[in-house]
Symmetry: C2
Subunit: 389 residues, 2 copies
């Protein structure tokens, strides 16, 4: 729902509001509500059924994340991912959203729920996914954020657009390192798009060419959960929307919504295990992710080097021009003077390149730092897994 750009935005936001009011969920996690005005409209409309809500502000545009709840929101926290694409990739606006994970804490019947909502960097080209290292850093930071902030929670829920297929390394890393389970895989009963897909070709807002290799569509929106301490959680039913509702000629969104009915029960004895997958398997996943982050690190180092060299060349050109200008002023240059206009144009060009290349160099320096840091954290975890299997 991008203002001025998205087609029939206000109408669809109205439809979403109608659906939410009609279904009367306990909890709603929305992504890509880019306009705060849309959030305010929803808030007014949903005030009666969802008296509690929170909008997470971030970046230039906003994180797009918001939560509506039937139960009081006790506390919130936002964590902005350290890497999120490139500001100069204007056609891929991800950088401007300041993509983040939002946490809200609620309590239902004495059970503490840590609820996370997030939206990871989009995948624009699956064959040559330049953003894979960034998305992996995000998946890692998401897992770390959940692990560190959920220690007092009874139940952890994560919902959002993860922009990863179920078998992708990022989601295996996230699930393995947090112990979260996939509601779709665990659901006792499922109803909706085949294979639980949430980006399907017959939605009029999806890019058909991207989905050619996936005739059924892809599943990139998830509800993940785990119960810690002495609770048991299972997914009784999972549903997705299937395009437009009856009487509507346009689907709610380019993604299908995921809706889960969860059953949570107090257990006699405390469950000890928090990691769902076996740790030897986890080590493989972390190794795989670390390799991909390493590839991204090399690319970022190369870009840092190229932009630094470009800035130096521009500086050199400027210095040469300054010397030439000084030479003319001092009357040392006996030959034909350089045409003024071209001289000025060249100087401006050099200044422009110097500024741009310096900016790029700084940006890629930060990128290298964060990729390096993630790679090292993964190395630490691998070492730990090997030492204490």
């Amino acid at each position: 729902a991008i203002r001025y750009l998205s087609k029939r935005r206000q109408e669809r936001i109205r439809f979403v509001g109608d659906l939410l009011r009609q279904e009367d969920f306990d909890l709603v996690l929305l992504q890509e509500v880019w306009s705060e005005r849309d959030y305010s409209d929803l808030k007014v409309k949903l005030g009666a059924c969802y008296p509690f809500s929170h909008y997470f502000r971030s970046g230039v545009i906003g994180s797009g994340l918001c939560v509506f709840s039937r139960f009081p929101i006790l506390d919130t926290l936002l964590y902005q991912y350290s890497l999120n694409g490139y500001p100069y990739m204007l056609q891929h606006g991800d950088w401007f959203c300041g993509k983040s994970v939002g946490l809200v804490i609620i309590k239902i019947s004495g059970i503490i729920f840590n609820i996370y909502v997030t939206h990871l960097h989009a995948e624009y080209c699956r064959e040559k996914d330049a953003y894979l290292p960034h998305r992996l850093v995000q998946a890692w930071e998401l897992a770390q954020f959940i692990r560190h902030t959920s220690k007092a929670a009874d139940v952890v829920l994560l919902g959002g657009d993860l922009n990863m297929h179920p078998e992708d390394v990022g989601i295996r890393l996230l699930r393995g390192w947090t112990g979260l389970q996939d509601a779709f895989a665990e659901a006792a009963h499922f109803e909706g798009c085949e294979d639980g897909c949430t980006l399907v070709p017959n939605n009029c807002f999806t890019d058909k060419s991207e989905l050619l290799p996936f005739p059924l569509g892809i599943r990139i929106d998830y509800i993940l959960y785990k119960a810690i301490s002495s609770f048991m959680i299972k997914c009784e039913e999972l549903k997705t929307t299937t395009g437009a509702a009856p009487g509507m000629d346009v689907p709610f969104s380019d993604h299908e919504a995921v809706m889960a009915t969860l059953h949570i029960q107090r257990q006699g004895q405390a469950a000890g295990a928090t990691l769902a997958t076996g740790e030897p398997m986890l080590a493989d996943v972390v190794t795989e992710a670390r390799t991909e982050v390493g590839v991204g690190l090399q690319a970022a180092q190369q870009q840092r080097y190229s932009s630094g060299r470009m800035a130096l060349l521009a500086l050199l050109l400027l210095l040469l021009q300054a010397m030439a200008a000084l030479g003319v002023l001092a009357g040392l240059d006996a030959g034909q003077p350089f045409p003024k206009l071209s001289f000025c144009l060249l100087a401006f060009l050099a200044i422009g390149i110097l500024l741009l290349a310096t900016g790029l160099h700084l940006f890629h320096t930060m990128e290298v730092k964060m990729l390096h840091s993630t790679e090292e954290q993964m190395r630490m975890v691998l070492q730990m897994l090997q030492e204490h299997p």
Copy 2:
């Protein structure tokens, strides 16, 4: 310790290493170790007494934060503050450091320690502190980060350069909202600079004019702590360095180091209270902080508006020039043609202003978002404090 800029840097890093080796602490939290090479040198030197360490990478330059420990580091997490000065304030390099709070988790005799190290935005002019709203947002985010990540910890320790005097609103907010206690105020025995000051006038690296109103110096570096669940913590002794050590002609740093001996004891019964100050007082502090953040919000909105207007004017000028150029090309302009050189210079100037003003506008939009978001969080907390006193 800034490479190429700080005086006698390597020598002083060597002195710091010697002191740390000689004192044989359990835990060392360092700030402003800007160069990763300095960290590596320290790591090699201290390997025998502090076998575990972590360096937090962030921003363009780095967070400057690192930890050396005698006990294994079980886990780490970095949270980068959402506001940290302005990239165009090159003389105040704060923005380039990506200031952050680092968390390391260690376990000593079965007691889980959450240890936080941080360095907040510097105060360059106390009378007219333009960075106060940013520092308050940082203090708030620091408090929120500690609250959300320390729920499973037995003991919480925070050490760092907070750039706030003990009575400043930011430190009252931090202490009130986390329940952290000030080791200096609690210490049974103190030794060091008068009043526990850590930035003192007779240190040769400090700016004497800044310290004129404070003849003894100021206390801006802290060790704060609290014990949760069933532990009791007290500060047996607090010490600061006092300039150069015997035999040295130069102090270790521009700040004096703070060293605490803490006594931690298991208690029979669980202590319930986590907030140190009474909540009515806390409400006052949050209100005061919120007012300051509101002042910052207004300034940021003003700057966002000015830069947006400037960008529009530059765009208008460019459009006018384009029209004039087209007019000349079409032979419509019968009068004296505008001199080519001035025309080009003007166009470049307009492009330059357009780019700069657009960048500024985007930056201040983000600033407004984060100030607004913090203000709203504070409002939520105030409401909560009033409803459940």
